[in-house]
């Protein structure tokens, strides 16, 4: 134990942890700015412009404001669970970043069960929403929480099943190995990405991922027009900020997973001097992830919300059979080849 803590590997590890944690927290803060700005442009508004150039200091101002706001705890709430829920929501959402490879060496740890670890951990996030909604002891949060739980577990099925097709091709659960398996090319030009082999799985994954993160058009848990603010109606100040952070963290996690599983992770063309070559994989990875995030925000700005029965029918009667069929077809093709 002592040797482990004092070794040079440990120092490298701590540097990696702080770089990734700092980077992720900064990215999550600026995601709120990006979302507001993009949504505003879609709706022909300027968005945040007052704080700093292009409103770029807005996330910092928001963070400070969250810190100084009154922390209201409703009298009839279940105090302990009410306070614990934001942490229960935030911790699993951030914990999945400990296994995501941002580059060939920019990964905190490469677990042999990395993918399973992320699925296990992110599905714990549902407790944050369910407990937060229940502990508030108010009607809107309760409805939002129940809706959200049912929705998340329904789409969790197709999410996990859609991944099985990719696993059959890659034969590994380690995220770093998933990326390296897609490194080469077909015919020298087409990258060996799983999207070309598993298009159906990708579509199922993408749709379920949007539903898993409770984003529009699947944000029945929040649906402002009916439920005020859904499960976090009673939350204010830093606790509300933590729910927001958790939501953005989940968006980044599912986008990163989509990039790793279907779009070759950090692989991409390499050129230039050695220093540039070290940075390029991370640049490619972040570029691919940000394309997904753009897609998420644009979808929020353009697609109307589902009705609850449509949502459940779509999850159970369309996505689930589709992902099962994909497994059967893929296993057949892999078996004969």
């Amino acid at each position: 134990m002592i040797e482990y803590v004092t070794g040079s590997e440990f120092i490298v590890l701590m540097i990696k942890i702080f770089v990734i944690f700092g980077g992720v927290m900064g990215a999550l803060a600026y995601l709120s700015w990006l979302e507001r700005k993009l949504m505003a442009r879609v709706q022909m508004r300027p968005g945040p412009t007052r704080v700093g150039p292009f409103g770029l200091l807005q996330p910092i101002a928001d963070g400070l404001k969250f810190l100084f706001k009154e922390d209201v705890i409703p009298t009839h709430s279940n105090r302990f669970l009410y306070i614990a829920a934001p942490i229960v929501s935030l911790v699993p959402a951030l914990l999945s970043f400990s296994v995501i490879p941002f580059g060939p060496s920019l990964q905190i740890t490469d677990l042999s069960v990395g993918l399973l670890f992320i699925f296990a951990v992110t599905s714990l996030g549902i407790y944050g929403i369910a407990l937060g909604g229940w502990a508030s002891n108010s009607k809107y949060p309760l409805m939002g929480a129940i809706r959200s739980s049912a929705q998340m577990i329904s789409y969790e099925l197709s999410l996990t099943l859609s991944v099985v097709g990719v696993l059959m091709i890659a034969n590994t659960l380690s995220l770093a190995e998933l990326v390296t398996a897609q490194q080469s090319t077909w015919l020298g030009i087409i990258p060996r990405w799983n999207i070309f082999l598993q298009p159906v799985a990708f579509v199922v994954y993408l749709v379920s991922a949007v539903a898993e993160t409770n984003r529009l058009p699947f944000d029945l848990a929040e649906s402002e027009q009916e439920l005020v603010a859904g499960w976090h109606t009673e939350y204010s100040s830093m606790k509300f900020a933590m729910f927001m952070l958790a939501e953005y963290a989940n968006v980044v996690t599912v986008s990163s997973l989509a990039t790793i599983m279907f779009f070759g992770g950090w692989t991409g063309p390499m050129f230039g001097p050695a220093l540039l070559q070290m940075a390029l994989p991370t640049v490619w990875f972040l570029l691919k992830v940000s394309i997904f995030i753009f897609f998420y925000v644009l979808m929020r700005a353009t697609v109307p919300r589902f009705r609850y029965d449509q949502l459940m029918r779509f999850g159970w009667k369309v996505l689930l059979p589709l992902s099962l069929a994909n497994i059967v077809v893929t296993s057949f093709v892999v078996a004969i080849s």
Partner: protein, 119 residues
């Protein structure tokens, strides 16, 4: 083993620490002006009617039970998919049987109307 999982533990401690510190921060710096109206459950400005500890539709429980069954089956597919290439045709037919069993259950659930949300 330790080398692989210890970073996860360190990261976990860091993340929990971040959460707890920001809660304490907001407790220290936040304004405190409680009044009974503010602390009552939000019901669009109306006096709250009844409690929120009410019963809700049994369909949600049904979804939870179905999820348990199907998710366990999904997890069984994971190790199979990872070693699929070593199992060859044997693995294919074994899993075809397994998926057929899932499908039989799925069709039964559908026919029973457990997936109908409107009724």
């Amino acid at each position: 083993m330790l080398e692989k999982w210890a970073p996860v533990l360190i990261f976990f401690i860091l993340v929990v620490g971040f959460g707890v510190v920001s809660l304490i921060g907001s407790y220290i710096f936040g304004v405190k002006k409680p009044d009974p109206r503010k602390l009552s459950p939000y019901e669009c400005g109306v006096q709250p009617i009844g409690t929120a500890r009410e019963r809700f539709s049994v369909k949600f429980y049904l979804v939870a039970m179905l999820f348990l069954l199907f998710d366990i089956e999904a997890i069984f597919l994971f190790p199979w998919a990872v070693v699929y290439r070593q199992l060859k045709l044997f693995g294919f037919f074994e899993m075809l049987l397994f998926i057929a069993a899932i499908l039989a259950g799925y069709i039964y659930v559908w026919k029973k109307g457990a997936l109908e949300w409107e009724r």
